[in-house]
């Protein structure tokens, strides 16, 4: 079991969350060339090691999180709210 320290709820089992996917992907502008969209939608670096990924605390606060996690050891290196404004408020408050 991976334990995820949700910035809103505290440390919880990962079974409360759903895995979103690769959090490093930046979608291109709507009118960007098709190649850029193909790259963003279908192509993955598939890192073995520390990757940035999204998780949804679906059975908790329902907030989306951005997590740096090692895909080999499952060790978590950082956790923050996915919404930048919320993440800033949380940082300022601590």
């Amino acid at each position: 079991m991976i334990r995820i320290n949700c910035p809103f709820c505290g440390e919880r089992d990962h079974s409360e969350f759903t895995y979103g996917g690769d959090g490093s992907i930046v979608y291109p502008e709507l009118d960007a060339p098709a190649e850029e969209w193909v790259e963003a939608i279908f192509q993955r670096e598939n890192i073995r090691g520390v990757q940035t990924e999204t998780w949804h605390h679906v059975s908790g606060c329902r907030q989306w999180l951005v997590i740096e996690r090692d895909t080999m050891t499952h060790e978590i290196h950082s956790i923050k709210a996915a919404h930048e404004g919320v993440a800033k408020v949380l940082e300022a408050g601590t």
């Binding site: 079991m1 895995y19 080999m72 499952h74």
Partner: protein
């Protein structure tokens, strides 16, 4: 006292001897298995069996190097030698034969696919399975015991009828839809009760489908490939590649530098790592882990393969010839290269098991394990050329790698030998997403974890 075993398990007997380094440069003269040889060795204390394949030192140069000594790599090397008469072939395996996904699957073989390309490919694979023990002179214990996919709603029955009618019209005559009465006659101990969690209304059945003995498939292909001169090099991990112009010239391995005229990758969950060693960046693949389970051995309980998938539940089960209930369910739901599973999925799969077979409630779990799946963006594989002139890719097998092994090797060998894709695998390429012709059997969209 020495344990006596049947001939098909003789490989296990010679494994320790392989460590003695008894190497010759020449392929072994293959001892043919027959009823007579099993009988004769039974009388002589099983002392007459010889080693099944060599343990050669890697040569400096090969015409064709296949990276990955799993079922797909072994089958590829075998068909390169057998179908195309090619020589000077090596398989490089970072661990030992059968130690990766070859030994981590649930051994189900079927061809109930729907999409053009997948239909022909998996049916061809099933036909190869049907003759594999004879082809390899090795008992792969292929058991055509029927694959029974349970159906839980009228809509699911209609959908299955459409799929299985397509199968009947395209060369798979053994596809049937069973009503509840027929299903109850054949599998009486499923949960048909009015309070069942997943009420059963019928089943889609493929009668030629079944199971095989996974280790025997690896050993059988290895033995047959070795007899045709293929060098199988274990404990040989590729760590980097050298390129000249638009070709790979050599591979740096844990056992030295090996140059090759043609290189094929067949490394399942580690494809992206090797792809990056070859100088590329991204692939339409993510590595996820999938668990499988085996119970303590039981007396005969389940004659067929039974599967179901409805809502959030997904489950498949059969009984091995040793009596263990072999079963599995969903992925672990997050990307991972770790070959170990998590406990929430153990709970999910156990819940699925007792929901459909309540009689398993008191059965103890013997072992469970996890393999790293090369989950592709549409759930379909890649057997294709690459941007490099002499590099060929075999990957993206999702849940389907075991059943695909013979045809995967057959078509990958054909691709490498002829430097062009066979028409059956014309869409098994990396360009299909850009072209808008993805082979999404489940209609799940570009999210690899949903293609289980």
């Amino acid at each position: 006292m020495k344990t006596h075993r049947q001939g098909v398990f003789a490989v296990a007997d010679v494994l320790p001897r392989r460590l003695l380094g008894h190497n010759t440069g020449n392929p072994l003269e293959m001892t043919r298995f027959s009823a007579w040889s099993v009988f004769r060795n039974g009388l002589s204390g099983q002392s007459g069996w010889t080693r099944q394949w060599r343990d050669p030192e890697p040569k400096k140069q090969y015409d064709i190097v296949i990276v990955g000594g799993g079922l797909h790599g072994l089958a590829t090397a075998y068909y390169l030698a057998k179908n195309h008469g090619l020589k000077n072939i090596a398989i490089l395996e970072k661990g030992w034969l059968g130690g990766g996904n070859a030994g981590r699957n649930t051994t189900i073989v079927r061809s109930n696919y729907f999409m053009p390309g997948n239909r022909q490919f998996y049916e061809h694979s099933l036909e190869l399975w049907e003759n594999l023990s004879h082809e390899l002179n090795y008992n792969v214990m292929f058991s055509q015991r029927s694959h029974i996919a349970l159906l839980h709603s009228p809509g699911a029955i209609d959908g299955a009828a459409r799929r299985y009618n397509t199968m009947r019209l395209t060369g798979t005559p053994d596809a049937e839809i069973w009503d509840l009465e027929k299903l109850k006659q054949n599998v009486p101990h499923l949960n048909y009760g009015p309070d069942s969690r997943f009420p059963i209304l019928g089943a889609a059945v493929q009668k030629r489908a079944g199971t095989a003995r996974h280790d025997a498939v690896a050993w059988g292909y290895a033995r047959a490939a070795d007899a045709l001169g293929v060098d199988i090099i274990q404990n040989c991990e590729v760590t980097s590649t050298s390129r000249s112009g638009n070709s790979i010239t050599s591979l740096t391995t844990s056992r030295g530098e090996i140059s090759a005229k043609k290189v094929g990758f067949a490394v399942a969950g580690n494809t992206s790592r090797l792809w990056q060693m070859a100088g590329f960046n991204t692939l339409p693949i993510e590595s996820h882990k999938l668990q499988a389970f085996v119970s303590e051995p039981l007396k005969p309980l389940l004659d067929q393969v039974v599967v179901f998938g409805v809502g959030g539940a997904h489950f498949y089960i059969s009984q091995s010839d040793k009596g263990g209930m072999v079963f599995g369910g969903d992925l672990d739901w997050y990307k991972s290269y770790a070959q170990r599973g998590n406990l929430p999925i153990v709970q999910d799969v156990a819940e699925c098991a007792v929901s459909i077979l309540p009689c398993l409630g008191r059965v103890r779990l013997l072992r469970h394990w996890s393999g790293v799946m090369d989950m592709s963006m549409d759930g379909s594989p890649f057997i294709c050329k690459t941007p490099l002139d002499n590099l060929y890719l075999n990957a993206g097998w999702n849940y389907g790698g075991f059943k695909a092994s013979p045809a995967s090797g057959w078509y990958f060998a054909d691709l490498i030998a002829n430097d062009r894709p066979h028409e059956t695998i014309a869409n098994f390429n990396l360009d299909r997403f850009a072209q808008g012709v993805s082979l999404d059997e489940r209609g799940a969209g570009p999210d690899p974890k949903l293609h289980g």
